[in-house]
């Protein structure tokens, strides 16, 4: 099990989720991906992406400065 990180700060919708989808191709079952993003729709988008693709969103927290941190388990 490996933990990967993705810095999607500054990227506009739908790019953060697009980057997640690209990284997902190299993930092994059990791998974690931590994402930082500040696109406004990201918290909702990543939740729906996980539901649709069958991956687990462990958490997604928006900090005071509008930056969201999410963690997905594959």
């Amino acid at each position: 099990m490996t933990t990967h990180t993705l810095d999607a700060l500054g990227l506009k919708c739908p790019q953060p989720v697009l980057k997640v989808a690209i990284m997902a191709k190299q993930m092994q079952p059990g791998d974690m991906l931590e994402i930082m993003a500040d696109c406004e729709s990201f918290p909702e988008d990543i939740g729906k992406w996980c539901t649709t693709t069958g991956n687990t969103l462990l958490f997604c927290a928006v900090e005071g400065d509008g930056k969201a941190k999410a963690q997905i388990q594959f």
């Binding site: 990227l11 506009k12 919708c13 739908p14 790019q15 989720v17 697009l18 980057k19 997640v20 989808a21 690209i22 191709k25 992406w49 539901t51 649709t52 693709t53 069958g54």
Partner: protein
């Protein structure tokens, strides 16, 4: 008659048949190109098979070097989105009629573009459940 999967058995979404989205781009302005690539990228990120079809009115945007010039305030970076779309095996197709309309050859188009006829395209997107036109 037996059904598959048997009733009550949940099939993980990952194993379901791939969804397909087809998007028609009908112009070369930002209002045509951004929604085409934004919706196309979102669909491919969700695991859909995605076809972006450029009609003769939209096809000049597929000439080499055109998309590199496209930018919009508050919009995602166009070329990064195009490259990510292609990384996930998205299809960018141009209507074959545009070749004569604009005296273009396939050499004038980006390398990633497939040139197709209307019948071939309709056959390719036969399973599309989501379509947009921009």
């Amino acid at each position: 008659m037996r059904s598959f999967p048997p009733p009550g058995i949940l099939v993980p979404l990952k194993e379901c048949e791939k969804m397909m989205t087809a998007i028609i781009c009908n112009g070369t302005e930002n209002k045509n190109l951004f929604p085409t690539f934004i919706m196309g990228s979102a669909a491919i990120a969700l695991g859909h098979e995605v076809y972006l079809f450029f009609t003769p009115a939209g096809a000049p945007a597929l000439k080499k070097g055109f998309l590199e010039q496209v930018e919009g305030k508050g919009m995602p970076e166009m070329m990064e989105m195009v490259n990510d779309f292609l990384t996930l095996d998205g299809h960018i197709v141009a209507c074959e009629l545009c070749m004569d309309v604009y005296d273009m050859t396939e050499e004038d188009l980006r390398e990633s573009v497939e040139v197709v006829g209307a019948t071939g395209f309709l056959s390719d997107i036969n399973d599309a459940t989501i379509t947009f036109t921009f």
